[in-house]
């Protein structure tokens, strides 16, 4: 048996997927090349830029710092899944309204990372401060916006979601 290619079965955006993958293939390359889910982007490929951020078993991870073979049995959600389910519709609208993207390369990772913070904000019913938003997004590079507009958009959604529940 060759251990350089392995069969994996996982759930991606709600669908069960079974594929044979090279052991060396990262999760983000698997999503892009094998499943044609090109919403997750590849930037630095060493965990610094954050544009490959996806959710695995509900937690955000770097798609370039996890191997596809390690996702056997896992539940993976990409920006396509988050978008189609409507989970981040308000966040996407806020990004558009606030000009929180220009080229859009960082946006899938920004959305996944921001949604992680917003989910926690909803659970604790606390609106994060602008400093807390910046800190949570500090692992995601944006070379266009200068970040202010992104923080504006995330803050607006936090106020709307948490405020709306109070």
């Amino acid at each position: 048996m060759s251990d350089t290619a392995l069969d994996i079965t996982l759930t991606v955006n709600g669908e069960t997927v079974s594929e044979r993958v090279d052991a060396r293939k990262t999760l983000v390359d698997f999503l892009r090349e094998d499943l044609a889910l090109t919403g997750s982007h590849v930037g630095c490929e060493h965990g610094v830029c954050g544009t490959c951020t996806v959710r695995v078993n509900g937690d955000i991870v770097r798609g370039c710092l996890m191997l596809a073979v390690q996702c056997d049995g896992a539940t993976v959600e990409t920006v396509e899944g988050l978008s189609d389910s409507g989970e981040i519709a308000d966040l996407q609208a806020a990004f558009e309204q606030r000009n929180a993207l220009q080229c859009g390369y960082c946006t899938p990772g920004m959305l996944a990372t921001a949604q992680d913070l917003l989910k926690r904000a909803q659970a604790s019913r606390q609106v994060p401060s602008r400093d807390e938003i910046r800190e949570h997004l500090s692992g995601n590079y944006c070379r266009c916006t200068g970040y202010h507009a992104i923080v504006d958009a995330v803050e607006a959604v936090a106020l709307a979601r948490v405020g709306g529940e109070q």
Partner: protein, 279 residues
């Protein structure tokens, strides 16, 4: 870049992992992979086999017993960050956790991986040294413990042998007399620090005893500043700064001279923390 080809095995038991390391001389262990996969992607490392530890049960527990906090090697950073036992009994580790990388990396990175990787600029190895902790490892000859003071040998080099699997780290459980301090100077939140300092001490009346100052980002390993420790135990912060026995080299972030100066700045800040009772 993409990794060079390698084989992958998910070990189900510790014995299996140790045996695989024996059979494949250039195999590497993978836990959280947050440093290893980056080096694979950049082809700084090209093992023939990756042995994944994530399927081994029981390595992600946090337990407090016999005056020690034992943190299983597969404990994720996020688990430690949210653990009540860590907050109460290993407050230094709780304090540093938000400074380590970013949420997406803390979700995946492990405590054992960080210690075994032994990055001289990382927070956790310095914490283990500052707390006078120990490492638990299993190899072909069985289980052994290694004191933190004997563990970090050189740049990314530890006392672990080629067939050793780090299974847990242990630190003394904090009590009412435990004092801790931590600070670091980094360009951006979550970046590797230019210089950092993790410290612990015991309150002895109005004085400090057992002062341990572990600097990181200043050498090939986390480093204790023993002369400064002695001076600080005597209550003299100025003397402690003057006695700082560090010789940092220049790196991409700062000159050695600047690092030495910043180490003094950090020592003054951390000394203040050590002298205050914990809330």
């Amino acid at each position: 870049m993409k990794p060079a080809p390698f084989a992958y095995r998910k070990a189900q038991t510790l014995d299996e992992a140790v045996a695989l390391l024996g059979q494949h001389k250039d195999a590497r262990l993978i836990a959280g992979g947050q440093s290893l996969i980056a080096t694979l992607n950049m082809r700084l490392s090209s093992p023939s086999l990756l042995v994944d530890l994530n399927g081994i049960a029981g390595l992600d527990r946090i337990e407090v017993r016999d005056g020690m906090v034992e943190i299983g090697a597969l404990t994720r950073h996020v688990q430690a960050e949210r653990s009540d036992a860590i907050a109460q009994f290993a407050p230094l580790i709780a304090r540093v956790m938000p400074h380590i990388a970013h949420a997406a990396i803390r979700n995946r990175g492990t405590i054992g991986g960080s210690i075994a990787f032994a990055d001289p600029a990382a927070e956790l190895p310095a914490c283990l040294l500052a707390l006078g902790g120990e490492v638990v490892a299993t190899g072909p000859a069985g289980r052994r413990t290694i004191k933190a003071d004997d563990f970090f040998k050189g740049l990314f080099e530890t006392a672990l042998g080629p067939q050793d699997v780090l299974t847990a780290v242990r630190v003394p459980a904090a009590d009412a007399n435990t004092r801790i301090g931590f600070d670091e100077l980094a360009r951006r939140h979550g970046d590797y620090a230019i210089v950092g300092l993790a410290a612990s001490a015991r309150a002895d009346g109005t004085r400090l005893a057992d002062v341990r100052l572990a600097f990181f980002g200043v050498g090939d390993t986390p480093l204790r500043a023993r002369k400064a420790e002695a001076a600080l135990a005597g209550g003299d912060v100025d003397a402690a700064v003057a006695a700082l026995d560090l010789e940092p080299h220049d790196d991409v972030q700062a000159t050695g001279k600047a690092k030495k100066h910043l180490a003094g700045v950090l020592l003054r800040r951390v000394a203040k923390q050590l002298m205050e009772p914990r809330p």
